[in-house]
């Protein structure tokens, strides 16, 4: 039925194409191009701040009048109070530093090792063919499901969090660098070899610079993944970290502390994301592609 429909439609379209003069002019008033007027910056900022203040006020009022259950949702004033305690007498800086370190180490180790692994596939087609199924398997395993095992092997300290973060970032980097290797123009290699280049020269002067944009493009993804890995590691077993703080607060029904830890964590994530974006733009300028 659908096939018949489309064929008749096709016939109609053909008829119309052959007789353009027979199409009637559209009825009604002429339609104009829709135009959007841009708001001035102050108006945009006022709207943004307004939503935030309005939302927080509604939350606070709702909690005080009992319309929102403050036991489950807490309230802004309590969260602000907990936040100041967290930073003055609490473990804020220890937790932030712990999560930050495991994220950064995992990010660096995973990205570097993964990129090297991906680039290494250029050296031998046979080696790449043998290893590839394992890489694909590793990609399809939900790495977080391995986290309990990783904690068991590496203990509850920093190393296990770094290991989870590494596991998450490594495979992505490997596959991305390998995608770069596969996109390499064989004629480029031909040019190098016709100039009498050795394999090491081709690797250093062609393969690595060619794949760098691929590797750079994965940095921003990886910082997010590394943070996720660190937090999940802390969820499972840890003595420090923002992830542990969130879990602990949730288990003791200290909802205000949950919000505080999430807030601090988000800030940390944004700072690291901004730093990596900056790093990316610097590297891109150096690479020029």
């Amino acid at each position: 039925m659908a096939v018949q429909d489309s064929s008749t439609l096709g016939e109609m379209a053909r008829l119309e194409l052959t007789q353009p003069a027979s199409i009637p002019a559209p009825a009604g008033p002429a339609r104009r191009l829709p135009v959007q007027k841009d708001w001035p910056t102050w108006a945009l900022i006022t709207a943004q701040v307004g939503i935030l203040v309005g939302g927080l006020s509604l939350w606070e009022i709702g909690a005080r009048t009992g319309w929102i259950d403050a036991f489950f949702w807490s309230q802004p004033s309590a969260i602000a109070h907990t936040l100041s305690i967290f930073f003055t007498t609490g473990d804020a800086w220890t937790d932030i530093s712990f999560t930050f370190r495991s994220t950064i180490f995992g990010f660096i180790i995973g990205t570097t090792a993964g990129s090297l692994l991906g680039l290494s596939f250029w050296w031998s087609r046979n080696y790449a063919a043998v290893v590839q199924p394992y890489v694909i398997c590793l990609e399809s395993i939900p790495k977080l499901a391995l986290a309990p095992l990783i904690i068991l092997v590496f203990g509850i300290g920093l190393v296990s969090k770094v290991a989870v973060a590494t596991a998450l970032t490594l495979v992505v980097s490997t596959l991305t660098a390998y995608a770069g290797v596969k996109a390499l123009d064989p004629d480029g290699e031909k040019l190098f070899y016709s100039l009498g280049a050795s394999r090491l020269q081709v690797f250093r002067k062609l393969v690595v610079p060619f794949c760098l944009p691929w590797i750079i493009s994965v940095l921003r993804v990886n910082i997010g993944l590394a943070l996720t890995g660190a937090i999940v590691g802390e969820f499972i077993a840890s003595q420090h970290g923002l992830g542990r703080a969130i879990l602990y607060a949730g288990q003791t029904y200290d909802i205000a502390l949950v919000w505080v830890a999430v807030l601090v964590l988000s800030t940390l994530a944004m700072v690291m994301y901004a730093a990596v974006s900056w790093l990316e733009s610097v590297l891109r300028k150096g690479v020029r592609q």
């Binding site: 123009d185 031909k190 040019l191 070899y193 020029r288």
Partner: protein
């Protein structure tokens, strides 16, 4: 002995590929002899094995039979003996024009500073001044080809292979580039083997044109071009030029059915 030997001698080189359906003869035994300093073109229809010959001469492909002699020395299957410019310019986007042109020297182990100081005057002389420190993606097609050609020339070999270097350029730019190449060739005195689809280009540039046929790829005629140099654009209108062009076109259209004897002139 090597001093009297031709610059390049392709000696009975043949190439067959094994395919699932059988054996494919890409090149029937081909013999070519090119003296020092000559400009020689290969023309022929697609699939006549022009690029195969180039890959074999450059050592990127091992021939099934025959030898490649450069300066009288067997160079079959050895790389880095000839400058080879492929159809694409293959400029590295992360290197400046200057650093692209010194690639060959760099690979041969010349120090960067020395290589750059050798390349700079040539870039200035051959129409790339002002572009030295730009990246290839800001260059026009003609300029990119110039950079690629200079890279090939700066790679210190006497023999260079050019595989359709102007194939992708518009007609106007192509004419300019041909003039430019002629200037370069007479300045450097290199031996050039040139592949093109353009009969007029081949005749205008060359001392000798080899016409190739397909299935298997082979040379069906060798036509010496005795037109005086330097050649003018208008020489394409002279009866001699037109006669050669007519002969080439006829050879290309009948392609091998009317096989001329190789090396008529010799």
């Amino acid at each position: 002995m090597p001093s009297s030997a031709p610059k390049l001698c392709v000696d009975d080189v043949s190439m067959t590929f094994k395919t699932p359906t059988g054996v494919f003869h890409a090149l029937a035994p081909v013999t070519l002899s090119i003296p020092q300093g000559r400009f020689v073109s290969l023309i022929g229809p697609s699939g006549c094995g022009k690029s195969t010959i180039f890959n074999i001469i450059a050592g990127l492909l091992e021939p099934t039979g025959g030898r490649v002699m450069i300066d009288g020395i067997d160079a079959t299957g050895t790389i880095g003996r000839v400058g080879y410019m492929l159809q694409k310019d293959l400029l590295l986007p992360w290197r400046t024009v200057l650093d692209n042109t010194i690639l060959g020297m760099e690979i041969q182990g010349v120090r960067l500073r020395e290589a750059r100081s050798r390349a700079l005057p040539l870039l200035h002389r051959y129409g790339l001044s002002g572009f030295e420190y730009l990246y290839p993606n800001s260059l026009s097609g003609g300029m990119r080809q110039r950079a690629a050609l200079l890279r090939t020339l700066l790679f210190d070999t006497d023999l260079i292979l050019l595989d359709e270097p102007f194939g992708a350029l518009d007609a106007q730019t192509k004419l300019q580039m041909q003039e430019w190449l002629m200037r370069l060739w007479s300045d450097f005195g290199k031996t050039v083997l040139f592949v093109t689809h353009d009969v007029e280009e081949a005749i205008y540039l060359s001392d000798e044109v080899h016409v190739m046929g397909t299935r298997p790829g082979r040379i069906i005629a060798t036509i010496p071009i005795a037109l005086p140099r330097p050649r003018l654009r208008t020489s394409a209108l002279t009866p001699d030029f037109v006669a050669i062009k007519e002969r080439c076109l006829k050879l290309l259209t009948v392609d091998g059915t009317a096989q001329e004897t190789v090396n008529q002139a010799a």
